[in-house]
């Protein structure tokens, strides 16, 4: 398998685009015609061939462009990557996990040679060829977490496990759905989820935490989350809200199909061996509504989900102001026919 990496941007002229193949493999998050919070965890143990669930860390046509976008964001705001001092070991765990998985799953793109603590890492798409000493941070240009997450798509949080809770104490966060690592770092599971409406009362976080605390080495889990973003922008951070906020008000009935994107997060959870921490990669996928409706099942279903969503959720997810425009656009693609179960397109 060879991947053609797109030359594209996630800001300014927004030249981001999905190939026909990328549309087909998009991780559509709704398995039925309505949506409510659920602890929708499943084992992250492979998935349909070619889908984003197949490998532990999905690499796709946006890889190189996403890494370029991350570099721009970090240059503007280095605080998007932070690690509290006791999390360095977890950072090495994450570096090992990502390097091992990528070298095994994409041998034509990545290789890892190990001789004891002397490691040799080759990342062909980004042109990196680096020898370093494992567990010796002075042999890397950045801390271990920052080094490897500058080479891996998606945001990453490292969670420390203690006192029967999970504590977000390190992270690389440049493509977030409106939360601030700098503000939330050091918080426990309930604190960093505090602003989420309804789910606390439903006991969602209690159940989710119990599940996550019990995740074992070699048995990662995953779930999908979603929101809506105007323009294919990765950096929808609160830090830059005053910069991207005005774009939310530029939607018209004429441009909604092109400018409104469904934003899906593939969240995975891996137990880390040396630190006993939990790695929490949050991989972001973007698809324009006009591309999404090329899969008839998805067009029908997204219309019904958005139409019937409780107001509080639309408000929290930040698209209440554009909701009617979105519903009106999607209505054209909903002929009222039943949809098949599951998230994948009909054959």
């Amino acid at each position: 398998m060879t991947i053609q990496f797109n030359d594209e941007t996630f800001r300014d002229d927004y030249s981001y685009h999905n190939s026909a193949e990328a549309i087909r493999r998009f991780p559509f998050p709704f398995d039925k015609d309505d949506y409510m919070y659920a602890v929708n965890m499943e084992p992250h143990a492979g998935g349909r061939e070619g889908s984003p669930f197949e490998n532990r860390f999905d690499v796709d046509e946006h890889y190189v462009a996403e890494m370029r976008d991350r570099e721009i964001t970090l240059n503007e705001d280095p605080l998007r990557c932070q690690s509290l001092p006791h999390m360095e070991l977890a950072g090495w765990d994450l570096l090992e996990l990502i390097m091992e998985c990528k070298a095994e799953d994409y041998p034509e793109l990545f290789s890892l040679h190990r001789d004891g603590d002397r490691w040799h890492w080759i990342n062909r798409p980004l042109g990196i060829d680096h020898k370093f000493t494992f567990l010796d941070p002075t042999t890397l240009p950045y801390g271990p977490m920052e080094y490897i997450t500058r080479q891996a798509q998606g945001d990453f949080a490292l969670l420390d496990q203690r006192e029967g809770n999970l504590w977000m104490e390190a992270g690389m966060v440049t493509s977030q759905a409106d939360w601030s690592l700098d503000f939330d770092i050091g918080m426990n599971f309930f604190e960093w989820h505090a602003p989420v409406p309804k789910a606390h009362e439903m006991g969602i976080f209690q159940r989710a935490l119990k599940f996550l605390l019990a995740i074992q080495q070699g048995a990662p889990s995953r779930r999908l989350n979603w929101t809506m973003t105007v323009n294919p922008r990765l950096d929808t951070s609160p830090e830059n809200y005053h910069k991207w906020g005005p774009e939310k008000r530029t939607l018209t009935p004429e441009n909604v199909g092109e400018k409104q994107f469904l934003r899906v997060e593939l969240q995975t959870f891996f137990r880390l061996p040396r630190s006993n921490g939990l790695a929490f990669p949050i991989r972001c996928y973007l698809i324009s509504l006009q591309d999404l409706v090329t899969v008839p099942k998805w067009g029908r279903r997204l219309h019904r989900v958005i139409r019937d969503l409780p107001d509080e959720l639309a408000e929290y997810k930040g698209f209440a102001v554009n909701r009617q425009l979105i519903i009106d656009y999607l209505a054209q693609f909903d002929d009222g026919k039943p949809t098949s179960p599951g998230i994948f397109p009909d054959e």
């Binding site: 006192e163 074992q216 070699g218 040396r274 006993n276």
Partner: protein, 315 residues
């Protein structure tokens, strides 16, 4: 619970009652690493019974070439440790689970005080190796009855901050002296008999320490008891739990699919909903809250038992 078949490559007597076992991959493959305080579950095919016991890892957490455990022979126990001592030979293959840690170090601590009684030294050994490698500040206090029985002495290096307290040499462990005047940011880890863990809790309470600085691990072997019957709501079947069998083992024997991991009432994996209960659940776990215990709506089948007319589980 994932597991793999490993070969027994070394058996060594550390004391008259304690043996050290080393396991390696049959083809020399690297084993998953772990963190100090982790344990594995060892499967023991004993006749037509399959026993599963959890043992703390005592080898270096960063060394994937093999796993080592130390097993104390419990003649009054349910038979797992007797099996390990009497039946396991070098070269045998045993199924060993992936390591799991319910007793990990708090890496923010300014200082770690590790207290072990008897065979409770085992998780402390791996914690020590992790601290040595990370250059953490720590002290170890290891209490044993006699030098002859103190298997841990063979596993502890001779360092000024590692102390053995041998009671028949007149050097009983004085918790008050150990814990008084520890600096802010100290965390205490205790492993050993319930009495030792309770003493550390009482001592720190008397000294005015916050409870959050205490960490402990008691490995509960499932306690034996009277036989009892359990009804399974999903199939309508009724099964009998024998006097020396745990409810979890009886469920497994009846081919009921059930998740588990520590088998000692601590990890929460086998938590089971009680549909109806006429009688009293004998809770022995450290997982459910006091409210959950008294409401009798949940049970941990790995260690808890039942007395009474009828118990129906959502299984």
């Amino acid at each position: 619970m994932s597991a793999q078949m490993l070969r027994v490559t070394e058996i060594e007597a550390l004391s008259p009652l304690v043996k050290r076992f080393r396991f390696e991959h049959p083809h020399g493959a690297k084993l998953p690493l772990f963190s100090g305080g982790a344990h594995v579950v060892v499967e023991m095919p004993d006749g037509d019974m399959l026993r599963r016991n959890a043992y703390s890892l005592i080898s270096d957490p960063q060394d994937g070439s093999g796993y080592e455990i130390a097993v104390r022979r419990e003649d009054g126990g349910r038979g797992g440790s007797r099996f390990m001592h009497a039946c396991v030979r070098q070269g045998d293959m045993l199924r060993i689970s992936t390591p799991l840690n319910l007793f990990s170090l708090d890496m923010r601590a300014r200082k770690h005080v590790l207290i072990a009684g008897g065979i409770g030294i085992t998780p402390i050994i791996a914690q020590m190796q992790q601290l040595l490698r990370m250059q953490g500040r720590f002290e170890i206090h290891y209490a044993a009855r006699s030098r002859r029985e103190a298997a841990g002495l063979r596993l502890l290096p001779d360092l000024p901050h590692i102390h053995a307290h041998i009671s028949d040499e007149g050097r009983r462990m004085d918790l008050g002296a150990i814990l008084d005047r520890q600096p802010i940011g100290t965390h205490v880890y205790t492993c050993g008999p319930e009495g030792l863990i309770a003493s550390v809790a009482q001592c720190t309470e008397r000294l005015g320490w916050p409870k959050g600085s205490l960490h402990s691990e008691v490995f509960l072997a499932p306690p034996p008891g009277r036989a009892f019957e359990v009804t399974l709501a999903r199939s309508g079947r009724t099964i009998t739990v024998g006097p020396h069998q745990s409810l979890l083992e009886a469920l497994e024997e009846a081919q009921v699919e059930i998740d588990w991991s520590c088998r000692g009432g601590a990890c929460g994996r086998c938590e089971t909903e009680v549909v109806s209960c006429h009688g009293r659940i004998e809770h022995h776990d450290h997982w459910l809250s006091e409210d959950e215990h008294s409401s009798q709506t949940r049970i941990m089948p790995c260690v808890s038992r039942f007395r009474g007319r009828e118990l129906i589980l959502n299984r």
